[in-house]
């Protein structure tokens, strides 16, 4: 009896340990009930979240129909995409677990290790399909022709391509158009006063051009804060951002930086090679930055880029907001409670509940992410009609100084991502996978991607007026903004960036000895000038040469 008890105990204990092994079975295919084994399976891993997978599934369904008669394997006709949507396909997971996951195609949310994976041979080369003119899709351009110039340097490695960016993302300020009209918050034609009636002619806005989407919006930082004061006087909370995600403000400051510096200044910041007209050498007695004209920057003196005026003005903008606590709700914007979904919901409900908030800072994808909140609003009969006709738009950013008014808007694309085909894919599936990859980047598919995800892509593409009319106002505004702006992508292929791709991240962008996010220091009384100085103090000549410089 005792021996039997011992055996039972041993069995139970071993089973308890063994159960852990079942965790390994978590990898692999999903939805096995819907698998059609008469068709060749193409396995796909896509990150769960963000832009979702609806756009991919729609494209896959069309592609499956198109190739329903293809025979790639003996006894099988047609293809089926086995799409596994999971948070396991986050960038860092994919980078380290590719050979374990063994999916044919990957769509991770991010992939800063693109070069590493490409050089290790884990990605299938797709140069042929990227260079081929898309005549089969009635286009005269190739995918590479369409790809933003700013992106080409990163994605083309020694004339070869291994992956393609599937989305772009900048952190933007959105505003409630109806709220602005109802409360006469647009600038009038003279650019100094506000409109007195909804039909009044509006100012040209920051780009200085009449008839663009920034008409009536503040042209300079000073105009912006004047607008905030006006909102406050009308019991409108000017700004909201999700306090639990202070990192969003860092991304937003990168957009402010890019808008000041423009494509050339941004290029310099990450190429560390060229001439800058915006290096700050000090501050005058009134606190204005003293800017040196034509400073040469080389890889060896690359740390000079951390003195670019765009960086200072971005910090200055946020510092001014932070120190004016009347511009925002302190607990919402600095507490740990309000996350991105909470922030989106709060903003969308704010004017409906008569506690209006004027502007909201989040990623450009936020409206798609707020689907749940929008659906809740639509289910409420009191708000459904209002929401249907609601106009939430992107606010092209004001310029730091009056002399910058008239310059094109520049977005800072923080999305370092790449979709790719695994090099271990079976030979007989290679061509069809490439074909599918090419299809995804046809103009029609890119347009549909924007329609479904309400996000734009870093390619030159067009959306027909009919399709555009199907998008909510925000989606139309985002597309328009994409067309009117320059898009800067920070990942560059010089040795410094390859060694430390993190230089494009906000952690390095605003790196100081304290490693603190700027807003955390701002709310503790640190000035923008001080913080700007700390960044330079961190990137000293010695530190740069020792830790970052590469020949």
């Amino acid at each position: 009896m005792r021996k039997t008890n011992k055996k039972i105990l041993a069995l139970v204990l071993s089973a308890a340990c063994f159960i852990n092994c079942f965790g390994l079975l978590g990898c692999g295919r999903r939805n096995q009930d819907s698998t059609d084994y008469t068709k060749t399976q193409i396995t796909v891993g896509i990150y769960e979240g963000g832009y979702g997978s609806e756009w991919l599934r729609e494209a896959a369904a069309i592609f499956e129909e198109k190739y329903k008669d293809v025979e790639l394997e003996d006894g099988k006709k047609g293809i089926q995409f086995d799409i596994d949507e999971s948070k396991n396909y986050g960038g860092s997971n994919v980078a380290t677990s590719l050979n374990v996951m063994k999916r044919d195609m990957y769509f991770p949310n991010s992939l800063s290790a693109y070069h590493t994976l490409a050089k290790s041979g884990a990605m299938l080369e797709i140069t042929d399909i990227v260079n081929e003119k898309l005549t089969k899709y009635n286009e005269n351009t190739s995918i590479l022709d369409k790809l933003n110039d700013s992106h080409k340097e990163w994605y083309v490695i020694e004339n070869k391509v291994y992956g393609l960016p599937q989305y772009e993302c900048a952190y933007v300020m959105s505003y409630d158009v109806d709220l602005f009209y109802d409360n006469l918050l647009f600038y009038a034609e003279d650019g100094i006063n506000f409109i007195k009636n909804k039909d009044d002619v509006k100012s040209n806005g920051p780009d200085g051009i009449k008839g663009t989407m920034d008409d009536g919006l503040p042209a300079t930082y000073d105009d912006f804060f004047k607008l905030c004061d006006r909102m406050k006087n009308k019991d409108i909370t000017p700004i909201l951002w999700p306090g639990a995600l202070q990192g969003y403000i860092n991304y937003f400051m990168q957009t402010l930086f890019a808008d000041y510096e423009g494509i050339d200044g941004c290029d310099l910041h990450f190429s560390f090679n060229g001439n800058s007209d915006s290096i700050v050498t000090g501050f005058d007695s009134s606190g204005k930055p003293i800017i040196a004209k034509s400073t040469a920057v080389t890889p060896e003196t690359g740390n000079l880029v951390f003195k670019q005026a765009g960086l200072y003005y971005a910090l200055k903008f946020m510092k001014t907001i932070v120190e004016h606590e009347e511009y925002y709700n302190y607990t919402d914007c600095f507490g740990a409670d309000l996350n991105h979904l909470g922030g989106q919901e709060k903003y969308l409900y704010s004017s409906l509940l008569n506690k209006p908030i004027g502007m909201y800072i989040d990623g450009s994808y936020w409206y798609n992410e707020a689907k749940g909140a929008i659906e809740s609003i639509m289910e409420d009969p009191a708000y459904a009609e209002i929401q249907k006709n609601r106009r939430i738009s992107i606010m092209p950013l004001p310029k730091a100084t009056a002399d910058k008014v008239g310059e094109k808007h520049t977005l800072y694309d923080v999305a370092c991502n790449a979709c790719f085909i695994w090099s271990g894919i079976a030979d007989f599936k290679k061509d069809i996978a490439k074909e599918f990859m090419q299809y995804l980047f046809s103009n029609d598919r890119l347009a549909n991607y924007t329609k479904i995800t309400l996000s734009t892509v870093p390619y030159k593409y067009t959306i027909s007026d009919e399709l555009l009319a199907e998008l909510p106002y925000y989606g139309q505004a985002l597309y328009k903004f994409h067309q009117e702006s320059a898009n800067f992508f920070p990942m560059k292929r010089n040795n410094i960036m390859i060694a430390t791709p993190g230089l494009a991240d906000t952690s390095c962008f605003f790196q100081t000895m304290s490693e603190n996010a700027p807003t955390n220091d701002f709310k503790n009384g640190v000035s923008a000038e001080e913080f700007f100085g700390w960044i330079s103090d961190f990137y000293t000549d010695d530190v740069w040469k020792k830790n970052y410089y590469r020949e």
């Binding site: 063994f18 070069h115 507490g335 740990a336 993190g502 709310k523």
Partner: protein
């Protein structure tokens, strides 16, 4: 003879059965615990190329960087200081409070069952749920209640830099009570009632009984928690990541939080891991003798049951 060879055969069978049963979990243990930790130790002595595809062995380079950063980075010094302060709160104050609550619950004083539930609740609910509810309460409900009841406007306790530290300490203390109280009360209930009755007959008060009888008898349990607490000093995140993600004010950061954020930031870039592994190894080298010292001290200074 026949019987002994039968017993031998039976023992052999038993042995084989046992070996087969534990073979899989043992292999799993060696791969996923020993192997992984060994790899982490070895990482500390490697330098990878920028692409993370090749490495060379360099015994001192990573440690040199760590020591240099300790001198130059206020963030690291701050994190270590915060870890020690957190250790003071969680080990000294936390264990003391847990003992007081346990004594109260063990003696079944008024409201002891309510205490039991409130103090044990965080241990059975998901940490993220507790964090979200707590944040909603201190950042939302408390300011609103104060405004409605007393017309006083305050910032949320987590939002306000002046109150965030105290709020975090309170939270971490509160959620740390569950398991210790369970074990302390369990240990206290195993004390022979005759001993306790005898002490009461002799006129011992509650405090005397607790100090001279209960605490000495549960000293091994107390020691365990102290030792485990010391072992976790440099890995305790203080729940900062649950509250703030990777954007907590550096003034709040602990060593555990700093390590965690650095690992996330590495984002799969293998070349970043050796430095982090070196920091981890140094933490172990500091913590291990501390744990042994504390263990020795607890055994030496601990009250004797006789």
């Amino acid at each position: 003879m026949e019987k002994s060879s039968f017993i031998k055969a039976q023992n052999k069978k038993d042995g084989m059965f046992f070996a087969l049963m534990v073979a899989v979990p043992t292999i799993q243990f060696f791969f996923f615990y020993v192997g992984v930790n060994l790899n982490s130790i070895l990482l500390a002595f490697k330098i990878y190329n920028d692409e993370g595809t090749e490495f060379r062995v360099n015994v001192l380079e990573n440690f040199r960087k760590v020591f240099s950063d300790l001198v130059n980075y206020p963030m690291l010094k701050n994190a270590i200081t915060n870890s020690l302060i957190v250790a003071f709160w969680t080990i000294l104050i936390g264990i003391s409070l847990a003992l007081i609550f346990s004594l109260y619950i063990n003696r079944k004083f008024f409201g002891s069952q309510v205490f039991k539930v409130i103090l044990f609740l965080p241990s059975i609910l998901s940490a993220i749920i507790i964090v979200k509810v707590f944040t909603r309460f201190v950042d939302g409900a408390i300011p609103e209640m104060l405004e409605i009841l007393f017309n006083v406007k305050i910032k949320g306790l987590m939002a306000n830099p002046k109150t965030v530290w105290g709020t975090l300490v309170f939270f971490n203390l509160w959620i740390s009570f569950g398991t210790p109280i369970l074990l302390y009360v369990g240990a206290m209930s195993s004390i022979s009632t005759s001993v306790l009755e005898a002490s009461r007959i002799d006129g011992a008060s509650f405090l005397q009984e607790s100090w001279f009888i209960t605490l000495p008898l549960i000293w091994p349990t107390i020691s365990t928690f102290v030792i485990v607490g010391v072992a976790g000093v440099l890995t305790n995140q203080f729940n900062l990541y649950s509250f703030f993600g990777d954007a907590a004010d550096y003034r709040l950061a602990t060593m555990g939080y700093w390590l965690y954020c650095r690992t996330i930031e590495a984002g799969g870039q293998v070349s970043k891991y050796p430095y982090i592994a070196a920091v981890g190894l140094l933490c172990t080298l500091v913590t291990l003798p501390a744990v042994l010292l504390v263990r020795g001290l607890m055994q030496k200074i601990g009250p004797k049951t006789e």
